[in-house]
Symmetry: C2
């Protein structure tokens, strides 16, 4: 096991505190560190104010072993991180020839001239190492001082992420702080709540209680992640894999997969192994079900496409849903869901088809079927079925939950016929014992 260190993050930028943007840096870094056996002890979002940065940095530096700052390394007047923190540590800022060369090359490729603001970004605290930034003008900084590590990264996500992955994690691993391989096995479940799964799996984990760490996390749509790690107790990877297999057996049909797998991915995988295709017909979900499939790289071999029929005429024109049926049963009905799925299956020439029709709110609904009433349809080579569900919450939640339930319904249908996928190769990591 690696050496246990206290790691803290400082997220710099007014945008996080003014509600202009979610701090996605934190969840990214948290996820990648967790994967390598490290956890964040605390994060702070601070204003772009030199005195605030100085004060809270010093208080953090006193207690933490590793401090990672994100943001505030840019060329503008409110980019104060470099200056404030160097000042707090009594370190002079000196020009880095390496950083300057990289900036000149990058700017030169764009055919522009290097200006004073660019050169400000090439200043680093004395004794620091430059972390090159292939995609922007603000290099990162790596500094070891008084037995502590300071890492400073730029705030543009597409610049920060590869720097963190390719430069920061390997340096932490080289110092035996982070693991080289994955630290935990993650499994994902659906159709079960976080508290149900905690109860269900408790007996599996009990015998190894002191030698593993178990974490649960639940998304807003209802996917539950379970992470089994060796932590300090030092269970072997073989023991952890065995636990993973036991969990999967216990979870049965609620087991979705190992790793970061999504519902649409599992459905696509099942279909691809049988060389079959799927299409979509949706109203209230407005394109979200289609895009769940289209999100999966390589989906084009399996996902043929979809029809978003916001208007009833479109259901009739493109999917051959009989007008009389719409008039008699209504657009939100079991009959319409079935006709939409069958229509998509035929018109888009697919083996399977999923349909969704419902009232997502704020309008629509009525006495018999209030806002939140959703009908799902599923056409398979064997026949076509419908299901009625009632979803609470705001418009967005209703739509997201409807997509999840449609995909999960199809997954469960497919699972009855398919053999289970084996534990994916990439999970077969070994934990380094320090």
């Amino acid at each position: 096991m690696p050496i246990k260190k206290r790691l803290e993050i400082l997220s710099l930028g007014d945008e996080f505190l003014l509600g202009l943007r979610d701090n996605a840096h934190l969840s990214y870094i948290g996820r990648e560190l967790a994967r390598k056996g490290l956890s964040i002890a605390r994060d702070q979002e601070l204003r772009d104010n030199a005195e605030e940065i100085r004060r809270h940095f010093l208080e953090t530096w006193e207690r933490a072993d590793i401090v990672i700052t994100v943001g505030g390394l840019g060329p503008t007047a409110d980019d104060l991180t470099r200056e404030a923190i160097s000042g707090a540590l009594n370190l002079k800022l000196v020009p880095s020839a390496e950083a300057e060369e990289a900036v000149r090359a990058l700017i030169g490729r764009g055919g522009r001239a290097v200006n004073k603001a660019h050169l400000k970004q090439c200043l680093v605290p004395e004794g620091a190492e430059v972390l090159p930034n292939a995609l922007g003008t603000a290099p990162g900084i790596w500094l070891e001082k008084d037995g502590r590590i300071l890492v400073m990264l730029p705030g543009a996500a597409h610049e920060m992420r590869p720097m963190f992955m390719n430069q920061v994690l390997p340096r932490l691993a080289a110092r035996d702080i982070a693991l080289i391989n994955d630290a935990f096995l993650q499994l994902r479940a659906v159709g079960i709540t976080e508290s149900e799964i905690t109860q269900l799996l408790a007996p599996v984990f009990a015998p190894l209680h002191s030698r593993i760490s178990v974490g649960y996390g639940c998304s807003s749509t209802g996917i539950v992640d379970v992470r089994i790690g060796a932590d300090e107790g030092g269970a072997t990877w073989e023991e952890i894999e065995k636990l993973g297999e036991s969990c999967r057996e216990l979870l049965g049909a609620n087991f979705l997969g190992f790793g970061d797998v999504t519902l649409a991915e599992v459905v696509i995988r099942h279909l691809r192994s049988r060389e079959m295709t799927v299409s979509v017909a949706e109203s209230c979900t407005g394109g979200l079900l289609s895009s769940a499939f289209a999100d999966i790289p390589g989906a084009s071999k399996v996902f043929r496409g979809g029809v978003v029929c916001y208007n009833n005429d479109v259901k009739t024109e493109l999917l051959d849903v009989p007008e009389a049926l719409l008039v008699q049963h209504g657009a939100v009905s079991a009959e319409t869901a079935v006709a939409m799925a069958a229509g998509a299956q035929e018109k888009l020439d697919s083996d399977y088809a999923l349909s969704v029709t419902g009232y997502a709110g704020p309008e629509g609904g009525g006495t018999g079927s209030p806002v939140g009433t959703v009908f799902l349809g599923l056409a398979t080579p064997e026949g076509v079925w419908s299901r009625k569900v009632f979803l609470e919450g705001a418009r967005t939640n209703v739509r997201e939950r409807a997509v999840l339930l449609a995909l999960d319904w199809m997954r469960r249908r497919l699972k009855n016929f398919a053999s289970e996928p084996v534990l994916p190769e990439k999970s077969r990591n070994t934990i380094k014992v320090g």
Copy 2:
């Protein structure tokens, strides 16, 4: 102007630090506070650990005037906020009859019995006021002590948000800490970078420099928000509205609207005012363009629907794109984009139609048109056009940018014919002068 207070947030929950979830509480609270003239000085995400919560709470309580905690009020063992903070303040936890009554009523409605865990949630620090929670069993807490205010809220977003809006903000306004009306005017621009807009608008703001505050924020897709506030200088709302109008004139076609308006909303509004309709045909965006329209409440009067043609046969079958054209020019071409838009316009019987076809990666592309090449099509009552764009970045970015560019293209087209919308009524607020 309200009294200037230092306000800090403590976000409790391992999930934020383990990368399991973005901290959306922070951006929600930040946005709503900013609207009422308050800003967050600092946020901290802390672990579910009593000693960590105690230590960082005390350090925060020492300097802040208002501390808001979110999360950790639930019934389980890792919900420690109530106990840790009461302990830190040397306050006993006492049962609240008011909270108990509410919990009994809520649980009773669900037909369940009240248990010990529920009753734990009804404990409040001595002297605290209960903030009722209409949607869950964890009430909030409002405590005034030593000239400071402590607010504790549950971590479920759908419970926390109405409590914050209906109970916390009015209490802050009653103490003259928050404004009753909106504190700033927000305007939104598209097709211009944050640094370009800063330069462009600087001369507008210069004369009132000391009496206003101006903030800029840029989304990952390229929408820029400008917020003009009275701040401490105390500009009147009339002066700020006048500045807003000057910005709008200067921005010209890049001006999107006042407030939180979206591109799809502006397009829908333009179309509705002319009683015209739109439909969509998309491949690489996989349903995202459709769902941008469907996201807008009331879109069904204008948005007829869309076809997601992931497979070429679907383009031919549903949109009448000639097979020979696909063979000759390829699926990603100006000709196909035009045929898709024209096909959608006809088959979905709409006045306008937008199409997108491109290579979002990781597959596809070639020597002539690499990954990131996207063709847009626009059919209007006057004719049909195409546009080629090249988008850098990962698959998700390419898709999001393609949707933005398609919508913005249509908006600019429509704008040529439409008269400008007036400043919306809800922005016509007055700033309270304290």
